[in-house]
């Protein structure tokens, strides 16, 4: 069958940070309107809207029922919500909406407003992922010491354990995590939409921050941001008419693994290495196959990786087949992953600098699109970006979204 080509023709986002002068509806609509204006389309030209956020964080259920009119309702709406990968999944939904032939122009919007939660940071939402399990364990006579160890030791959830696994697997050291964090904070300083910006940040600066729980320091951890991002997808003819240099979606893939941490109500799962990330390996493989990419290391020019914690940038760059398993830290040491390196990773500063969870994986797609369209401004990578890969990660370390974007349609 003939496949329909789909491109991103416009991107919009809010500044990220603590946005206490707008309500959620206004925040979402700002990003949506920025994207529509960038794409030079009006709501009347938009056929359908795909939305998503992580509902537990903002305390509102199906926010678009209330907020939809500010950016396009009445219209077909589709809500897609998959945890950390939500933004990536929403972008995939936007792609499929157009690729299906059911719609020609689709707006995809994703957001989070962490500051609406009374608890600090993202704890409300994150705790709720495990809440049902925790209640169950306590009812089954788990000790208070175990609970305290869970809450204090693993305050940042499963990621610290994952860092421990990854460091054992790859031989990388905490110093490498410091280097990743410093690089991303410097990149973020060039991105006016980023939440946490730290010009001239050095690994030594990061190393001076306190431990959250070893092996992760405060300097390694993402902030809890408010913000929204949006992109407009269009079919080939419209895309060519509306955009000078559209960012073509060559493929998307989002494979699910067994939950890596615990199963439903703390049943065992058959995974012991949190850094294996089989779902990412398969998603990447499928995405490259669908995009016609044979050698990602040669054909991919840059990547936006979902890395709320620095070991994840290294780990996922390997799972995305941009480096050998366990060897990304060597590329890091050689400066390959810098903004002017041979394989720039997260020139936007990534999730480690800006984490409005529901929007974060959408931001990766948006940032790749900006790089291809040449609209990334101060954090535009110096080399010509022909193909880019956008990654999202979430669930209980078992969901991955991958999108391959390019400067030309898939042949």
């Amino acid at each position: 069958m003939m496949r329909r080509n789909v491109a991103i023709i416009g991107c919009g986002q809010t500044k990220h940070g603590r946005l206490r002068n707008v309500n959620t509806a206004e925040m979402i609509s700002e990003a949506a309107w920025n994207a529509m204006e960038d794409a030079k389309v009006t709501p009347d030209e938009v056929d359908a809207i795909v939305v998503g956020n992580m509902q537990g964080f903002g305390g509102i259920y199906d926010t678009e029922l209330w907020a939809g009119e500010l950016f396009g309702a009445p219209k077909p709406f589709l809500r897609i919500t998959t945890g950390g990968t939500t933004g990536g999944s929403v972008a995939h939904g936007g792609y499929y909406s157009v690729a299906s032939g059911l719609h020609d122009v689709v707006l995809a919007v994703a957001w989070e407003k962490h500051s609406d939660s009374k608890e600090r940071g993202a704890t409300t939402g994150l705790a709720h992922v495990a809440m049902a399990n925790m209640f169950h364990d306590l009812q089954q006579g788990a000790s208070l010491k175990w609970l305290v160890s869970l809450v204090t030791g693993a305050a940042i959830g499963v990621s610290a354990f994952q860092a421990s696994c990854y460091m054992y697997r790859s031989g990388c050291k905490v110093e490498h995590l410091d280097m990743v964090a410093a690089k991303d904070r410097r990149n973020a300083a060039k991105n006016e939409y980023a939440h946490l910006r730290w010009p001239n940040c050095t690994p030594e600066d990061i190393a001076k921050t306190e431990w959250v729980s070893y092996p992760l320091r405060f300097g390694h951890v993402c902030p809890a941001s408010d913000g929204a991002s949006a992109v407009v997808f269009a079919e080939e003819k419209i895309a060519k008419k509306k955009a000078e240099r559209p960012a073509w979606i060559k493929s998307v893939a989002a494979y699910a693994d067994e939950p890596n941490w615990l199963g439903e109500n703390s049943q065992g799962t058959a995974i012991t290495d949190l850094s294996e990330q089989l779902e990412c390996i398969i998603s990447a493989k499928e995405a490259y196959r669908r995009a016609g990419i044979k050698d990602p290391r040669k054909e991919i020019d840059m990547a936006e990786i979902y890395q709320p914690f620095p070991h994840q940038e290294l780990m996922f760059s390997e799972r995305l087949d941009l480096f050998d398993d366990g060897k990304a830290w060597i590329a890091l040491e050689e400066g390959q992953t810098e903004i002017d390196g041979s394989m720039p990773l997260d020139p936007s500063g990534g999730v480690i600098s800006t984490n409005a969870i529901g929007s974060s994986a959408m931001q990766r797609v948006l940032e790749c699109a900006l790089q291809i369209m040449g609209k990334a401004g101060k954090h535009q990578v110096p080399k010509d970006v022909k193909n880019a890969v956008a990654h999202g990660w979430g669930g209980s370390v078992n969901f991955t979204t991958v999108a391959v974007l390019g400067d030309s349609p898939r042949r």
Binding site: L19, R20, N21, V22, N23, T24, A25, E26, S29, W33, T42, P43, G56, G58, G59, I60, E69, L70, F71, G72, A73, S115, D116, S117, K118, E119, T124, H128, M131, A132, F135, H136, L138, Q139, N265
Partner: protein
Amino acid sequence: MEKREVIKVTGLPIVAGFRWSVGKMMEKFIKSFADKKIIAAKCPKCGYTYVPPRSRCGKCYTKIEEKNLVELSGKGTLTGYTTAYVELDGKGIFLDLDNPKVIGAIKLDDSDSTIFMPLGEIDQKNVKEGIKVKVVWKEETKGEIADILYFKPAR
């Protein structure tokens, strides 16, 4: 098969709390309650008037700014209603009400939105679509949503 029995798991008494920033338009709206005023946002293009105010017209997508805020009289027409014999307890249980409450759908004069507010000082028999109603404020208003007590028949 008997192995697959099911138990119920109850939680700790934890409540997730939220505090939603209301944005500039809503802030004006709520704060003006202190002066016993109800304001609305009138679309500069199509004229549709939103109460509570919002920053973008849902009908023609025009941006609405603070200069487009208008003051309403606090009087309006009842366009629909229901008598509530139950109410949710916040945990999902419908509790019986000893004194049924009347909820009114009210279109305030010079506005196009419908707001859903309690009705008071009215006999249930007299609740009818089309009757005129007006806002009843707390004696001392502070600029918060609770300043509005209910709506009552206008005459």
